[in-house]
Symmetry: D2
């Protein structure tokens, strides 16, 4: 059965390297895979458990529920994941018993202009996902250092070794999601 | 010289245990210490580096710049710090060269209704603060488990062993901030 | 097909709470599960990649290869896993291509006399296992606080809520290992 | 007053990049600084709290007690610090009340042949040192990627940008240790 994947990009900026990365991941996925990228982290208010889910949270929860798995493109801010991405996770993970992210298989990728390629952010994100009992793809890890040298000004990938990694990643994600699907 | 401290509470909910905790920390600080709690994490838009600092970010940066040190009361969501608190850190840490948090001494405390007392969130927060070169108080750690049993419905602390810990914490914070002040 | 599990206890001390914990885990495993606890971390020299595997490493590697999955009982020293346990992991994880731990499903449990129940050590251990692409059981987490109050002087478990947790844990481990078995 | 520093190398292998790194750090330290590198991690048995300190532990504790601060050169094994280094920390951190590492200022550096430059190991090590209340130098971080391209076969540093970084690091370490000395 075909696999449906939801991409979530942790960055809001227009020229985001991680949105470019997610797009290339989408192009490299095995034929028949459905993939679209969620846009809208900036629409979510700051999480407050006193409030019921506002409309953009309801929409994001529905998008996650409709997917067999999630691919997160994570930039690194302050050696961790962006606050906006964490805020989305805070909303969608509650209440735990009925959260659409609970048990959902997740894969992580990240790109940065520095040498570390978002290693620290990915480590934190893995830890957070243990809370919601998400199976998380271990390997291959996609931590792209000096990413600004691998994408051109239009976000096109110009580095073939990265493309080969993303192809292996895409195949691994689909096999992983298929093994762990709850849908 | 008297020490001025800014409290930041990571939770927005009305009955927040961490706001209650910060208030008691404030009461236990050595005489002469100035302390006030910043309210306003929900006013900050989701961080986007394409945008200049909006007014609430300018205000928070000014509040941090005016303080000799910061005390963060951190709840734990998804085994990490709240997205809203991280979002504030993403704004105020940039640009690195002129960020008011850079080099600023920080102390962390946290309370939770579970057994872990926000240990995981505090670990993440410490790591994030390495980015901005913040000296961070190591000991005593304030990880309050079963906090709902230690505060009454009005947020009053009813547990004397916790009060004693917070008194030691307050004294340690002031000595630490005084040693590391950049102001 | 029956599942064979290898237990590894991170502590060497005679009255180890984590060895007691592993023994109770063993008793609670579903009927038909094979389980034995490896003893011998103290026989391994400190890892040095200049040296070929000494005999105790060969033996540990064989024990891991023969198991369908591994259960690690981890005490917390210095907010992380014991050096002796890490040393064993350093030996058995190399060379990566032929390591018997590679891809092997792993479950983690821990007990401590303090309140945190080895949370920090378990977080580190999860991160380490990403390197060897080990699927790691997320839930239920077994972080036993005040463990000295739950076991008697002979290492017998006296707390029934802990026994119930370990029963759920054992069932989850066996299902998880069966799903991820490479053997 | 002159500062005395103890170097500890986490690797035992003869051609260790981290021993080479520590040696260059030693050469770049400000004039008048005393620095020597401890050799002997392989002499320590695996930590067992049932046993009194064996002679090599007594010697290492004395070396730490005699120093104003410690510089640790940390390789990365299994995304964390080597078991042998952790084992040494397990011994010297106990008993907490009289441990010579308690409150001792520590600086961390690391080199690896991969891209991450021991980032993950350093993160773990920082967390461990919170236990012993060690002030830990935040910046500059020394995470040397592709280190095998920066040192020649004799362990001589051939990369001038790395030398400049180590010079800044050395100056920062001495100032930091002087500020936090307990000796």
């Amino acid at each position: 059965m075909a696999v449906t994947l939801l991409g979530i990009c942790g960055s809001l900026r227009k020229a985001s390297l991680n949105r470019a990365l997610l797009r290339v991941v989408g192009e490299q996925l095995p034929a028949g895979t459905h993939f679209h990228i969620y846009e809208g982290l900036e629409l979510l208010p700051i999480f407050n458990s006193d409030h019921a889910d506002p409309a953009p949270v309801v929409a994001l929860k529905a998008a996650i529920a409709a997917a067999d798995g999630v691919i997160i493109g994570v930039p690194e801010y302050n050696y961790s994941i962006p606050g906006g991405l964490k805020n989305a996770l805070d909303w969608v993970s509650r209440p735990p018993a009925t959260s659409p992210i609970r048990g959902k298989p997740v894969a992580i990728c990240g790109a940065a202009s520095g040498m570390s390629g978002t290693i620290r952010a990915q480590t934190h994100l893995r830890q957070m996902l243990v809370y919601s009992d998400c199976p998380t793809l271990n390997q291959p890890e996609v931590c792209i250092p000096r990413a600004h040298e691998r994408f051109d000004a239009d976000g096109k990938l110009t580095d073939e070794s990265t493309r080969a990694l993303l192809q292996r990643f895409g195949a691994a994600v689909v096999a992983f999601v298929d093994k762990h699907r709850t849908t």
